[in-house]
């Protein structure tokens, strides 16, 4: 008897607690709904990738998973869509990688060196120089795209990796973040290094770079994703199909009904999926560093 009453009591208590958590349920409903909204395009993409283009054409996105995954993957990665037969998915992936890595690493190197000069050397007008760099944040690539294009073209860097990377490499964002970081490095560390006989270059390489690890990782994520997702600039600089990046190459695949060509939904979405993957992996891999780099201030 006592058992039952105790049980009932427990139930009553749980119920009371459930009542109390209605708000939580509501909050979670909103969050889940939001996540679904974000995930939906991705899910449609996944579904499209597995179904034959004709079916997608007729039915649109459905809940059925098709069997065309490997075929679409083969077409996307190893078959060229253009005239030259060189813009296969693999090739574009390689170009995108080179652009993303070159862009990120270049920006980090240049940003670090600029910040090092601004913070540690008593330059005249160092502050002015910094603010000049900073104001370029207000001038994104799109604003200076015509002159930039002309310079690249005159330097004969069209359809080259240099042409893709170098004009974008100076970064006010990276310079700014590294400047803030360097300023938080205690003065005594520099003095200790000076007494230990470390010159400016040694200090930079032996001490500042290892200290900046987390910051470098954070910058790498931001810049890699940013570089990877470049669309306008590669579109202008690369006319050679051999040089196409993924983001630009997707556009090349037939996606509208033209004559008797069925749009290649499967293939295009496969490429899009592959284009998403590296940035996602980079973020997952560097995630903990990213948070540390942007929040941890004590060094």
């Amino acid at each position: 008897m006592t058992d039952i009453s105790a049980h009932a009591h427990a139930i009553a208590q749980t119920r009371k607690r459930t009542w109390f958590k209605l708000e939580t349920v509501f909050d979670h409903a909103i969050l889940i709904l939001g996540s679904l909204l974000m995930l939906l395009p991705l899910l449609i993409m996944l579904q499209t990738v597995t179904t034959p283009d004709l079916e997608t054409m007729k039915l649109g996105p459905t809940f059925t998973i098709g069997t065309e995954l490997d075929d679409n993957f083969r077409k996307a990665m190893f078959e060229a869509s253009g005239f030259s037969g060189q813009n296969t998915g693999m090739n574009m992936l390689k170009n995108s990688m080179i652009l993303g890595l070159g862009f990120a690493l270049g920006k980090i190197v240049i940003g670090m060196m600029a910040a090092y000069a601004i913070v540690y050397f008593r330059l005249r007008f160092a502050t002015l120089a910094f603010w000049l760099i900073f104001t370029t944040l207000l001038l994104p690539l799109e604003v200076r795209i015509l002159p930039s294009y002309e310079i690249v073209q005159q330097l004969g860097m069209m359809n080259t990796y240099q042409g893709l990377i170098i004009p974008l490499i100076a970064s006010a964002t990276a310079t700014f973040f590294f400047r803030q970081f360097f300023r938080s490095v205690p003065e005594e560390l520099i003095e200790a290094a000076r007494i230990d006989g470390a010159g400016p270059i040694k200090f930079f390489i032996d001490i500042l770079v290892p200290l900046s690890q987390t910051m470098i990782a954070a910058m790498f994520i931001i810049m890699f994703v940013y570089g990877w997702n470049q669309y306008l600039w590669p579109t202008m600089i690369t006319t050679d199909e051999n040089m196409y990046t993924l983001v630009r190459g997707i556009k090349q695949i037939v996606q509208t009904l033209e004559g008797n060509n069925i749009p290649e939904f499967g293939r295009a979405n496969m490429l899009a999926l592959i284009a998403i993957l590296p940035p996602v992996l980079v973020v997952i891999f560097f995630q903990s560093w990213f948070v540390k780099g942007l929040t941890e201030s004590d060094k």
Partner: protein
């Protein structure tokens, strides 16, 4: 090992502020000299000029036989220990200690031997492969010491190395540093704002105030014969009592106290009395109103007023005390006189023992 000489060394910052007025002193080989003063007195600037981290505006600095005004910090044959340890956070203890040697292109086996020796000396053997963040404050400071030791410098510089440690550890490290310095016999300059550290560690103390050297002397000279009211009030806890007295016709008078003495001065004067030189005397000439008894275990301090002027008395723990009126006496040979305007000490020749001005004896409550 070396001697250090400063000749009219001066520091003026680009904004025109004079941080250190022309200062000259000489430090003997193997001497432990403490620069002490309140914050902003220029003691750190002076040390940093000796280290080469700040430019010397005027004057010459020599370490050993060499004038080093324009020599790089790394080439001055010095080692420095910083307040915040300044260890390289990404390097292990071993690498921290070895970094300076590595930069000097010392052979690897020599580095290893020196690191091992320093680690043994500082009890760091178990921590050589840890990162500084895994060490306690005292251990970190020892690593910083190790980094200094392995370089076999001619001169150690310490910039308030103990101020980040808690009180207990500070006492311990104070002794360790002093013992280490004795053992190595390296000339050392130590900066602190803590007068206890200065008194206990120094062979000689240099008291600085407002970028000026107030006094140079052994701890005992500084304590017993302060050169100015500043030194008198800065050194010692509690500091020297400074009260206004009057000099006339070879007699110094303060409260009920009359001391005959020979001084080339007439009129008001600042009188310096160490709290421990005052003692309770039922027939004493000084009438004090005790406001507060500070119980410190080993001794007690009485805070009160004599004719409206603040006075502190140091009592041995055996002597009971309470608030209220009290009669005091003092040993006149320990009196210091300071000029009322400049604050500089005046030379005194004592004539005799003090005499109570009034003959009426007031019962004191000792």
């Amino acid at each position: 090992m070396a001697q250090v000489s400063l000749d009219s060394v001066r520091k003026i910052y680009p904004n025109g502020a004079e941080a250190v007025t022309p200062s000259s002193f000489h430090i003997e080989d193997g001497e432990f000299v403490v620069l002490v003063g309140p914050s902003g007195c220029g003691k750190s600037t002076l040390l940093r000029m000796i280290a080469g981290l700040e430019d010397i505006t005027e004057g010459t600095l020599s370490i050993g036989e060499r004038i080093v005004n324009d020599v790089d910090p790394a080439d001055r044959d010095i080692a420095m220990v910083f307040q915040n340890y300044a260890l390289y956070p990404h390097m292990s203890v071993r690498k921290n200690i070895a970094y300076g040697l590595k930069n000097r292109k010392t052979p690897k086996d020599v580095i290893d031997a020196k690191v091992a020796e320093a680690a043994a000396m500082l009890n760091l053997n178990d921590y050589l492969d840890r990162k500084p963040s895994q060490l306690s404050g005292g251990q970190r400071q020892r690593v910083a010491m190790g980094r200094a030791i392995v370089r076999d410098p001619a001169l150690f510089l310490f910039d308030e190395p103990l101020s980040n440690l808690d009180a207990k550890l500070r006492n311990q490290m104070r002794i360790e540093i002093k013992a280490l310095q004795r053992r190595l016999g390296v000339t050392s300059i130590y900066v602190t704002h803590d007068q206890v550290e200065a008194m206990t560690m120094a062979d000689r103390i240099i008291v600085l105030n407002g970028g000026r050297i107030e006094q140079i002397g052994t701890p005992s000279e500084i304590y017993h014969n302060p050169a100015s009211t500043f030194v008198a009030s800065f050194m010692g806890a509690p500091p020297m009592n400074l009260v206004a007295g009057e000099l006339s016709e070879g007699i110094l008078s303060f409260a009920g106290l009359d001391v005959p003495m020979t001084v080339d001065h007439r009129g008001p004067v600042t009188l310096g009395l160490r709290p421990e030189d005052l003692f309770i005397d039922a027939k004493g000439p000084i009438a004090m109103e005790v406001d507060l008894v500070e119980e410190l275990g080993a001794h007690r301090l009485l805070h009160g007023r004599v004719e409206g002027q603040q006075l502190t008395v140091h009592l041995a723990k055996e002597i009971a005390a309470k608030t209220g009126p009290l009669r005091l006496s003092c040993d006149p040979s320990h009196l210091c006189l300071f000029h009322p305007d400049t604050g500089k000490r005046m030379d005194v020749r004592h004539k005799a023992t003090p005499q109570a001005r009034s003959n009426t004896t007031v019962e004191s409550k000792a």
